[in-house]
């Protein structure tokens, strides 16, 4: 479930507001998206994939986390190199190679 919008990283492009299939975000008064409907989040990670500023974090848990969870601490996530991870794997963003080009899994066992 989406847990964080890091205001200091957000560039106010509205991509997350547009791409979220379940309209979790609204634009906040300062232009930074707010989690207006967090319970509607389906944990699909699309907002993170499209965020050009690595300003969002989706926790893999399908229910909201308690406030003291490390997945709600932007600094801790940054230090653990967990911000922008999906985008990095997809190879989205300038200077990266597309992940799809090398997405070849192993041959399946019998």
């Amino acid at each position: 479930m989406i847990e964080l919008v890091l205001a200091e990283r957000c560039i106010g492009c509205d991509r997350c507001i547009d791409v979220c299939p379940t309209q979790v975000f609204d634009r906040g008064a300062d232009g930074v998206p707010v989690l207006a409907r967090q319970p509607d989040c389906q944990t699909c990670f699309q907002c993170e994939a499209y965020c050009p500023a690595d300003a969002l974090f989706v926790s893999p848990h399908v229910v909201p986390l308690p406030p003291d969870s490390p997945h709600r601490d932007g600094g801790a996530l940054d230090r653990a190199d967990l911000l922008g991870g999906y985008r990095r794997e997809l190879g989205w963003g300038r200077g990266r190679s597309l992940g799809a080009r090398t997405a070849v899994g192993p041959a399946y066992p019998d």
Partner: protein, 525 residues
Amino acid sequence: MNSELVLRADVAVVGGGPAGTWAAIKAAESGADVVLLDKGHTGSSGATASAGTGIWYVDDVPELREAAMASREGLGGYLADRAWMARVLDETHARMEELGRVQRYPFPVGPRGPIRDDLQGPEYMRRQRLRVQRLGVRILDHTPALDLLLDGDGVVSGVRAVQRRSGETIEVRAGAVVLAAGACAFQSKTLGCDVDTGDGALMAVEAGAVLSGMEFSSSYAIAPIGTSLTKTAYYSWATFYRADRTVLEGAGSARGRSVIARTLLSEPVFARLDRATPEEQAAMRRGQPNFFLVFDRLGINPFTDFFEVTLLAEGTVRGTGGVRIASTDCATDVPGLYAAGDTATRELICGGFTGGGSHNAAWAAASGSWAGQGAAAFARRRGVPSTVRPTGTVALRPGAAADVEPQEILSEVQRTVLPLDVNYFREPARLASALGALDDLWGRSRDGLTATGEGLFRAREAAAMTAHARWMLHAALRRTETRGMHRRLDRPDQDRSQQHRLLVGGLDELWSAPEPQWLAGGRAA
């Protein structure tokens, strides 16, 4: 309900996943003016964008094609159709070549050229969106469809929808409609599928269409508990365990999933991908990065750590039931209405065995393309009608008491249909009892669900899921045998006299009947 805004188009496409985008592309290429509506956002909504998928792409080599078709016939309970399999393989081959050439999808390249049997979801779908935009299709995002419009002759003539941001309703009057709105996973949190609530089937039946194969809807996917990660391919390398770390004998991702289901009825199940070599582990990370995204964030090494798993219902998303296809252009039994992707039955290529993953992906590209062309041709012959009437029932007709909330209905549907001992291990008494509860719920929805503005789509989702569950369990009761994925505890064997597809339909009163004639030779019955 008066629509604030009326648009006109030759073809309206409902749903912006793979089937809907291929439909929009092919309709636009045929010269049609196209409007594409998506409940969420075309390019990031639905099962494919979130999960990615293998695709049933087989090189154009007769021996390989023959083996690909033969491998599914028995599994599917002999309900698939060779001619349809062959034309889906041909069409998929052509569409994947086009995807690489026109959408410039970056297929991996091996020693023998591009490797086209797997698609990374976000990359595939963002390119589909761009292609649709470049063809001049009008895309309406965050605009869930509510019901279909008919003209005086009963020909489908458009669709009503609600714009979530404004709460305004909109009417798209069109010469033909393609329903590519996905199937139904009952918001079980299977990856990317909260938007797949069976809206297409409900709208189709309200307009007069029939469904087929709804008993093939007992699909459950393995997921680490508490997550939405229903990507099951890599469990081919898993060993499954009980809580005391003893091996759960017979459990497996493919053939042994029923052992997992059976065990989950009474105790937790754990998994570990401990059969993968270091080389295979590295290839897995390249193959499906979003699988590991979840484990990395959970702090779990899936190759060395035991992790608890559960089964999440995938209903008809990975089942094969859906709107009956009446001809090779994916027309339904109602003139002007076309169905594609998971909204349509996938029995034509899968029979009664899960279409999950690669077959559904091939079907989406092929059926979407045919439906788009078929709808464009129909609209060209007919023009855009001026007089229309709505067909929607629950939550769209005046007079409901407003004494029940969509969330209440949804919770009750989930509680009734999702349990493994109702929908996976099927047994007549439990099926009948669940169906009775769902019939009551349908009555309560019809008499008590009402909504305005944005709330309309939540009310319609609740109604669609109720209807879907009823069609599934009704068909499951009527097919008194075990065939394909449909498992009847009281009838563990296949019954030769039931080797036919089963049609189901109706809203207040449900009915079912064997399909009178099989689609044969790639032509309509």
